[in-house]
Subunit: 367 residues, 2 copies
């Protein structure tokens, strides 16, 4: 049976990075009979230029129908002053919301070959392997009211609303505990219960979910500000971190930067399993942005996009061996000293986007 | 004329740290004729134990009447399950709100003698000197509604509200630009305008304030998540950072940890100048917490509390020379290799709380 992939390369370096994933898909179809069927759409600034919206209705339908969406990156100075409702990010936020992708998995791993690129002392990050589970369809990102009111007198009021219901916290906690069981079996939940009522509820529901169904997993609670500190102080103390949409945005970016491997980090955004088929809706995207300054030059690092495709193989198609091999291929290429400009180091060989993609594909074939 | 100080040592190591400030106050009164008059109250868990509230009405009145409040730290496991309204933090939040201390100044400096204690590579933090200006009386900390609603069916809803009005953003931006003029003349404003309407307004008002009154200062805008990354990647790129209450909480903690000098960092929380006297209400507190695990052992590091008093001398009493000297005394003691346990390093002399306080006072006397 066909495996339907919907590709949304987006803006900036997105299309270049996606091109390297295409090669891997083609190879897997030809030689491994993987049966991927791909379609492609526009998102972000490029969708705005074509349709006046950050994603068209037609492309939304295709995203909803696909087995998995591969997403590049959105945004750039060209669209910095388009109206709020059609800004490039709106396309990504709508995909997350309408596909109900509530669980964002962000691994922060440190590739051994890149440990020295971290701002942290190498002994603090060597072997680092954290999985941040960020709630992605709730909180202050989507709560209403969300508006700017004119109060008269030259005064305006900006309002955003942080809202979490029990079931939203329960299901993301469930994902964190399940993932922990496949790893070191430890979860750290982060909120600001000393200041936020949503944090009080978050803390309670995580605690109850743990007690009811996952008491075999080790659970710790940490205030989100202290969590940010601890990520910098001693990142290896963490296994799985579970947190809300906004704290997850901040903390996963800090964690990504710690690894020194920012251009390398993938993410997966998953929905609930379908009650009939057991399948989850899913979107895979690199953690890095659209990097407009280097777009179109053929020098972007495609590794995060390729690693996102590896997560897709694992979580959407249960192609575990293939996912393992693709990740191994990336590590092998790095071990051989092949580098794009962003991760270049002394004694290594500098290559462009397509050469990096080719090198990874060659390793993948050989495994 | 008398200089009225209201001391709120609080819980945990707060009282021990405050004791060392008392010695400096006594010396300045005796020898320098500084005219400090001190009174003392309870806050946090110790206030709850005495009055059933995180701060009593009487102590609130004293705080409102004082020229400056010196605050230690609050909280500890003993009070982890007291009701939300009377939790230790509520005392601090009420002080901030009722004294209208909207401007929180958090210097993140790296003491040269401690650069090697940072998790970051020394070259990234040596000479680091950032000033984070955090809005302290608005945003999601105080916005209404802030509640947990019972929805029935076993479902609850936790709500917090992020609210910012034009005037609140204007006045904190003003503080940031004014402070920048006394430093490197650069301000970086951080928000999430791509997701939050309050962020859109924040960005607009900072931009307009800059244009209208501070166009001599260099202004940059950064998304708060990217800001967290950049703090880890290249912290020395920043001079003054201005941001909202919640982002300020997260980002200032990350910045504090970068310096490797967490136990050393002070903060000042300032109100608006009184239209008649020009005086600002003010509260000074260390960035570290109450550290209940080491409380009462005589080993706590009093430097952050003493450095907070130095900020008090500078901002509340315009005793600039005395403030400079007190800060210099701290640096000199560190240069001599005198260390409390939390910052102990090879070849240094380990001392307790009172010996550290005495050493700083001796240096201060000698300057
Ligand atoms: C692009 C932006 C809307 C997005 C977010 O804030 O979630 C990004 O920062 C991310 O982390 O995926
Ligand atoms: C104690 C707590 C309420 C407080 C805050 O969140 O503001 C603290 O973390 C701080 O940064 O001063």
């Amino acid at each position: 049976t066909a495996r339907n992939l919907f590709l949304l390369p987006g803006d900036g370096i997105g299309p270049e990075a996606m091109g390297e994933v295409r090669k891997i898909i083609a190879y897997m179809n030809e030689v491994m009979n993987a049966g991927f069927v791909t379609d492609e759409g526009l998102v972000g600034g490029s969708a705005y230029d074509a349709h006046g919206a950050a994603i068209s209705e037609g492309d939304m339908q295709k995203a909803l129908a696909a087995d998995a969406v591969l997403f590049g990156a959105v945004g750039g100075p060209k669209w910095d002053s388009v109206p709020y409702e059609v800004r490039p990010e709106a396309g990504l936020l709508r995909l997350r919301k309408d596909l109900q992708l509530f669980a964002n998995l962000r691994p922060a791993i440190c590739y051994p070959a890149l440990a020295s690129a971290s701002s942290l002392k190498p002994e603090l990050v060597e072997g680092l392997d954290i999985l941040i589970i960020r709630e992605l369809t709730g909180g202050v990102y989507f709560g209403e009211p969300k508006e700017i009111i004119d109060l008269g007198n030259g005064q305006k009021r900006g309002i955003d609303t942080q809202v979490y219901d029990t079931y939203e916290i329960e299901r993301i906690a469930g994902v964190a505990f399940e993932m922990a069981r496949t790893r070191q079996n430890r979860v750290c939940s982060m909120e600001k219960r000393n200041v936020m009522k949503s944090g009080v509820l978050w803390n309670q529901v995580v605690t109850e979910t743990h007690k009811a169904k996952y008491s075999d997993v080790q659970l710790e609670h940490m205030l989100a500000d202290a969590g940010g500190m601890q990520l910098v102080r001693q990142p290896k103390q963490f296994d799985v971190i579970v947190t809300d949409n906004l704290f997850g945005d901040m903390l996963s970016d800090v964690a990504a930067m710690l690894t020194g491997s920012l251009g390398m980090l993938p993410s997966a955004s998953l929905g609930a399993p379908d009650p009939k088929t057991g399948k989850r809706k899913a979107l895979y995207e690199p953690v890095h942005g659209s990097a407009p300054d280097i777009a179109g030059k053929g020098i972007a690092n495609p590794i995060a996009m390729i690693a996102s495709f590896a997560m897709c193989l694992r979580y959407s198609f249960n192609l575990v061996k293939e996912a393992d091999n693709l990740e191994k291929a990336i590590a092998n290429v790095l071990d051989k000293g092949i580098r794009t400009g962003d991760i270049m180091a002394e004694g290594c060989t500098k290559v462009g986007t397509t050469d990096m993609g080719d090198a990874i594909l060659a390793e993948f074939k050989a495994l």
